[in-house]
Every structure is written in C-alpha cells, then in structure tokens.
C-alpha cells in the first residue's frame, strides 16, 4: 500500500495496533480539512503490527492525548518533507478535557463548564481517576 509522504505535518508512528482510531477520535482529527491517513495493522519490527497516523498540516498536537493512548508511540514532526523533530512521550500525570467522567453522580455531569480532569493514580496499571468523584476512567 502506498501513502504519499507529507510535506509539513506530523507522523504518529508505532501506535499499538488497534489504538489508531481511538487516537484519531481523541485528537479530533475528523475536524481537520487536510489529508489525514490512518494505516492500520502495518508490519512492524518492534511490535509485529502497528498503526500509523499521518497528518498533512502543521497541527498543535496534544502530546498528553498521544501519551495517554500509547506512550510507546513516536511523534515525528515533518517540515519541507524532512524529519525535523522527534517528540518524547510519557504517560501524562493529568488529563484535562481528554476524556469525560461517566459517573452520573459526578459534579461534572451537571456543571457543564467544569473541566473534566483525571489524575494518574497507578502508572503500572495505567489507571486514571476523576479528581472530583474518583471514578475510574473508562
């Protein structure tokens, strides 16, 4: 399969196979007007299979979202067709307005202006809890 190289934009590589669509949704890539390619289940030396997202525009990428979905993914910034920067990822300690609290008893369910904030409580298990009601992120 051939996908055109991008000139100015972002390539998110080495995404765990199956996580590409989740990342696409959380990053809000559906709202972009440029070319966006999602490659699912590409072969990978490191992982066996991987997903790749190519975004053909300069884009204010929220690295917390990428780190939350897959901290082992790699983020490559492309300018004039060349790789100019590789961004380091880590599991974010805090997520602000990335995911929503689904607890119907949480204060965020009635007060719409509140930020949805989750804090990492267990790095190994990657467990996040709502800072207001402590419900686990799902």
């Amino acid at each position: 399969m051939n996908i055109d190289s991008i000139q100015n934009g972002v390539v998110i590589d080495h995404i765990s196979a199956g996580s590409g669509m989740k990342l696409y949704e959380l990053l809000g890539l559906d709202k972009l007007d440029c070319s966006v390619a999602i490659i699912k289940n590409a072969s990978s030396h490191k992982k066996g299979k991987k997903d790749i997202i190519k975004i053909d525009t300069e884009f204010p990428l929220n690295l917390d979202i990428v780190g939350y979905v897959d901290p082992e993914a790699t983020v490559n910034i492309i300018k004039d067709g060349k790789l100019v920067e590789k961004r380091e990822l880590s599991i974010p300690e805090k997520l602000v307005n990335v995911i929503k609290c689904k607890n119907p008893r949480c204060i965020t369910s009635t007060e719409q202006e509140l930020d949805h904030v989750f804090r990492l409580v267990d790095k190994e298990e990657k467990i996040y809890r709502c800072i207001y009601c402590e419900a686990r992120a799902r």
């Binding site: 119907p104 204060i107 007060e111 800072i131 419900a135």
Partner: protein, 307 residues
C-alpha cells in the same frame, strides 16, 4: 487555604491532635465557649440532613460563633442553576468557613477550589463524608483506646455508603486492622476502595454475605442503611433494603466488648431492642461527631488565621 474534602487530607498526627482537642473540649467545655466569637459558619446543605447539619451548627454555637444556613437546594440559588463555584465565591463574602453537603460527588471539592475560606465536605453523594469518619474515629478511640489490631465488620450498603469508604480509608493507615465486608452482591464496595485502598495498603480483608458467621470475630460492627436516594431504580432498592437487620438474637455469638456503630439515620437495620445494650455505641457516635466538628472548625479557622 486548608480544606477537608477527604479524610486523607488529614495526616494521622493531625487526626490525633483533633482527637486530643475533642477530648479536651469534652473535659473543659467552658474553655472553648467563646473561641469563635464573631465568626460565622455557613452550612450549605443541598441534600437533606438532620444530624450532620445540626451537629455542625451546634458545634459552631458551642464555640461561641454564629451560623448562616442553606438547608435545601430549593431554598437557594442552586434552584436557579447557580454553579457550585459561584455559590462558594458568594458565601466567601459572608462567612468564615463553609460546611457543604451536596448530592453530586466532588461538589465540595469544586467549592474548595473557588472559595477564599476553608471548606469542609459534609458529604458528597456516595463519595466521601470525612467528618462522619472523624466522629467514627473518636468513637473507636474512646471505646477501644486504640486504632491498631482491630477487626472491623462493615455491614449493609457498602457500595454507596460513603461513610464506609471514608472509614476504610482512615483505618488503612493503622497497624494490623482486619476488615470484614458483609453485603449482598449488588452492594459490595466499589473497585476503587478494593483496589486503591484495601489491596494497595495490603490490608487483610474478607468479603462475605454472612453476618452471623462473621459476628464472633468482630471488635467493631459498623452497620449501614441501604440508601433509597442512591438508587435510580425503586425495584432494586425494595429488593435489597432488608438485607441485614441486626436484632438481639444475632448478637448471641458477638464479643462482650463489641462496639456497634451506625452513621445514622437508621431505618430498620438495627432493631430498637438493641439500643439499651451497652455495646450499642451509635448515640455516643452522634455526640462524638459534634466534638470532632468543633475540633475541626477550630483547627481550620486557626490555620486560616481567622482566630
């Protein structure tokens, strides 16, 4: 600004200090009768309450202070859609300290982020109720003289019972505490209590449906009400509400120095026939709540530099 949203906002040393202050208040009430003169506590209760609100108000009056009170959501601007943040900022203009109860979990925390005066969580949904836990801890201390080496049975609604979650959290910091969780399948403790408190702190715990079998092992039996207001479905409430009713025959195999506690209100889960049993500590627990709230109000106002 110092706030208390969760019992874990207080260190064990601070809890020891609060207990010491509460015991001193019990011994020397006159010494404290004017310490909050001219200061105002706002009790913002957006959910019904008898004990907690009156206990906070009695506590402030006994410290020589005054009380401003919102006793239901319908009687406040919350009914017009005012946000918790705006309410907290507004009340900060009138009072020196806030005690807030709210049906939504995390509402007092939101208030504490926006108020310029200390905020005490007086119960938020099924989440936390730290001042009830302070009442529970003073009761355990006065009845048992220690927090270590105790077997505590929690019985009834362990899913929505915020007092249960707070007390388990508090007891996780003491030595050799064994927890027996007695509940129907549908009302077991939530995963965050099991995973983040019991297992994370390597606490010894058992989950069972059998109160009678657990009874002989218990130093403390903490009964709870199945709370109708936490159910979205009336059918589920009716099916579960009479799961555990404590009556004299059920105490036949209990220890002679068992301490029976209940955060109240009770419906029928403890028979009134038990009220005269010396092991019934729930009315002492209510009184202890007032003393611990006095101690906490004093602490927070002192730390805020208000007194």
């Amino acid at each position: 600004m110092r706030n208390v949203n969760d019992i874990l906002d207080l260190t064990t040393d601070e809890i020891d200090d609060l207990i010491e202050t509460a015991c001193d208040i019990i011994e020397n009430p006159k010494k404290y009768s004017e310490v909050c003169h001219g200061k105002k506590l706002a009790t913002l209760f957006f959910e019904p309450s008898t004990r907690t609100r009156l206990s906070f108000e009695a506590a402030m009056y006994e410290l020589g202070g005054n009380v401003l009170s919102v006793s239901s959501a319908a009687s406040s601007s919350a009914s017009k859609g005012e946000s918790v943040a705006d309410t907290a900022k507004t009340v900060s203009c009138y009072a020196d300290i806030i005690a807030m109860r709210h049906p939504k979990e995390g509402a007092p925390y939101v208030a504490s982020l926006n108020a310029s005066i200390p905020v005490i969580n007086a119960g938020d949904g099924g989440h936390n109720h730290p001042t009830q836990t302070l009442a529970d801890l003073l009761t355990i201390y006065r009845e048992k003289g220690t927090f270590d080496n105790l077997t505590i049975g929690f019985c009834g609604d362990l899913k929505f019972g915020r007092t249960v979650h707070s007390l388990i959290n508090a007891m996780s910091r003491y030595k050799n505490v064994r927890i027996i969780l007695i509940s129907p399948e549908e009302l077991k403790v939530p995963s965050y209590v099991r995973n983040d408190v019991l297992e994370k702190n390597h606490m010894e715990y058992v989950e069972t449906k059998d109160l009678l079998k657990a009874m002989p092992e218990l130093d403390i039996l903490y009964m709870t009400r199945v709370q109708q207001e936490r159910f979205f479905n009336e059918e589920d409430y009716l099916r579960l509400k009479d799961s555990y009713i404590l009556d004299p025959p059920k105490l036949a195999n209990a220890k002679k120095d068992l301490c029976i506690m209940h955060p109240f209100p009770r419906v029928n889960e403890i028979s009134v026939a038990i009220d005269d049993d010396p092991r019934a500590c729930y009315f002492k627990q209510i009184l202890n709540g007032k003393y611990m709230r006095m101690a906490l109000i004093l602490k927070l106002l002192k730390e805020a530099g208000t007194i």
